[in-house]
């Protein structure tokens, strides 16, 4: 256990309602040696939960409306146990931009040196970006699958209506797409729409 970073005990709270992304981030933090990573199950009564958990670092997804709730912790108030500050500094501009771009924001307990937290935020940014790429790929795969289904249906329609073979039907779709400078899936969709109209 000697190779743990000195900040292994830092209590890190993750607020993200996307369970997969949250799991990816938590795993990443643990792999890097941060043993004390927790999350909340719901954002109801978030402030009370945060005070109970009493974290030193809070990571929150920007798509979570409860981010505004955290802003209240900057305020001087009798219920604040420890002052929390946003991870901002005029000199941190690059990091802040990278974080907002990745869709995440960080808050730290006042007095905690920013250098100690930078590594955590960098890790968070890279995991969020990796997740976004994954999501993108998933979306692309899904739309490719959808396109495949549309093309198959259009082929079937053409085969039946024009007495073509499957190969000929596909060639016809491809030629039309090239002539009209459109995607094959778009032409296929037109065929399906037309067939439905003419039915």
């Amino acid at each position: 256990m000697n190779n743990l970073p000195i900040d292994a005990a830092l209590k890190i709270l993750v607020i993200d309602e996307d369970p997969i992304r949250r799991a990816i981030l938590e795993a990443g933090l643990r792999e890097s040696g941060y043993a004390n990573v927790v999350h909340v199950e719901t954002t109801t009564g978030l402030l009370d939960q945060v005070y109970r958990i009493d974290p030193e670092v809070i990571l929150i997804a920007l798509e979570n409306p409860s981010r505004d709730v955290l802003e209240q912790m900057f305020q001087v108030s009798r219920i604040v146990r420890r002052p929390i500050a946003m991870f901002v500094d005029q000199s941190d501009r690059g990091t802040i931009e990278a974080a907002v771009d990745a869709g995440v924001s960080a808050y730290i307990v006042g007095g905690l040196q920013k250098e100690r937290v930078k590594h955590i935020l960098d890790l968070c940014i890279s995991r969020f970006n990796a997740f976004a790429r994954l999501q993108d790929e998933l979306d692309r795969t899904k739309s490719a699958l959808d396109a495949r289904k549309v093309i198959d249906r259009a082929k079937g329609i053409l085969m039946q209506a024009k007495g073509l073979s499957e190969e000929q039907a596909y060639a016809l779709l491809r030629k039309t797409a090239m002539n009209e400078k459109r995607k094959i899936a778009e032409v296929a969709q037109s065929v399906i729409t037309a067939a439905e109209l003419l039915r």
């Binding site: 920007l62 979570n64 409306p65 981010r67 802003e71 001087v76 500094d89 907002v100």
Partner: protein
């Protein structure tokens, strides 16, 4: 004509974004060769940060956030300019039926008067404390917001200390109604359409319009970075012109239906609700009682689009009163400099006789007239405040 300027503008789906929505969706922006992408956001923190780092060129923003950003309160200091007030007023205080009943029972007069209701709140708070009950919890949308300041101003006038006697919590507006229904909060101050939604489903009762607390508050501004505005003076001018025409379009009762439909489509509520909101004709009680105040939400009307530095000074005074900012002449000057009537006037002309602004620019229901030149003196007239 050159290619239109592409702009990304962040906004929160609220009725008080009407002028911005109409400018984009009704073609006023396109007429100024502005190609605007309206980006819907979920939190004011996001709008602020994305504006600050340049992901947005401009934003529909809480006026106090524009000021806080320029003063460097709570986060990175970025100078923001507000050349156009998208909406004046528009908030309301809504309470749960049980709290309303308690206030009505404790009221020593007409409860529609804010001083009567605020004193009734003081009685209710004391009675709960005597019985050993939990303090009341009230929701608002952001620490730097008129919702926060109006709620605090109102209760403090009745003798309730907002930091000691009740719990004030930030709640994202989409969660307000649900929190009231579940009893997580006893009331809230929020913008339209959320108060009306609480009334419509029978979980809340509108106690006061924000305009009854403060007759004229700059609620949402069009915010741009000062540096960006300096680099793009021509775009700023075109933006103001597009918004001014849109605001005039919104203000014309003849366009009521069309405006309500455009805004409703972006905000995600019925056009009828938006129409009632823009006309200041709100159902206040689940049993059907209504209240009308033409100043409830001011978009374009009564000269509401013109930024008045005195209203920025009032917001700064609230920050000082509640311990969010230190008192200093420099900060006051910086706060007032956020509001740029000169940029507005250069496009829209000088204010006309229809621009009805209260004598002190604010028109609070209690206390002495607001005096921006002597905020420390003004605040000394209040006993409930944080030590400055």
């Amino acid at each position: 004509m050159s290619a239109p300027a592409k702009l990304r503008i962040g906004y929160i789906p609220l009725a008080d974004a009407a002028a911005l929505i109409v400018a984009v969706d009704k073609g006023f922006a396109a007429a100024e060769h502005l190609d605007i992408e309206l980006v819907r956001e979920v939190s004011w923190s996001n709008v602020r940060d994305k504006l600050n780092i340049g992901l947005f060129d401009a934003a529909h923003l809480l006026a106090p956030v524009a000021i806080a950003s320029s003063l460097g309160l709570g986060h990175v200091k970025v100078s923001i300019l507000a050349p156009f007030v998208l909406a004046g007023n528009g908030n309301a205080i809504t309470v749960s039926p049980p709290l309303f009943a308690a206030l009505a029972g404790a009221a020593g007069g007409d409860i529609t008067s804010p001083i009567v209701s605020a004193r009734a709140l003081a009685h209710t708070v004391a009675a709960r404390r005597a019985k050993g009950q939990e303090p009341l919890t009230l929701g608002m949308t952001f620490p730097f917001s008129n919702h926060n300041y109006q709620l605090r101003f109102w209760m403090a006038a009745g003798g309730v200390d907002p930091d000691e006697d009740v719990r004030l919590v930030v709640l994202p507006p989409p969660y307000m109604v649900d929190s009231l229904a579940k009893g997580h909060v006893d009331g809230f101050c929020v913008g339209a359409p959320w108060n009306s939604l609480a009334v419509d489903i029978g979980v809340g009762r509108i106690l006061h319009f924000g305009s009854e607390i403060i007759a004229r508050a700059a609620e949402k501004v069009l915010a741009v970075r000062a540096a960006w505005a300096g680099d793009h003076p021509d775009i700023v001018t075109r933006l103001i012109r597009a918004l001014e025409r849109a605001a005039q379009f919104v203000a014309d009762p003849a366009n009521g239906d069309g405006v309500a439909e455009l805004v409703a489509a972006r905000v995600g509520v019925t056009a009828e609700l938006i129409r009632r909101t823009l006309e200041g004709r709100l159902k206040v009680a689940p049993d059907g009682g209504t209240r009308t105040d033409a100043r409830y939400l001011l978009v374009g009307r009564e000269g509401a689009a013109r930024p008045h530095p005195v209203q920025a000074a009032w917001a700064y005074a609230q920050m000082v009163r509640w311990g969010q900012a230190p008192m200093s002449a420099d900060l006051l000057a910086a706060a007032q400099a956020v509001f740029r009537p000169d940029l507005y006037d250069a496009v829209a002309g000088s204010p006309t006789a229809t621009a009805r602004v209260p004598e002190d620019g604010v028109g609070a229901f209690a206390g002495p007239a607001f005096a921006p030149a002597d905020i420390a003196g003004h605040l000394s007239s209040w006993t409930i405040k944080r030590p400055g």
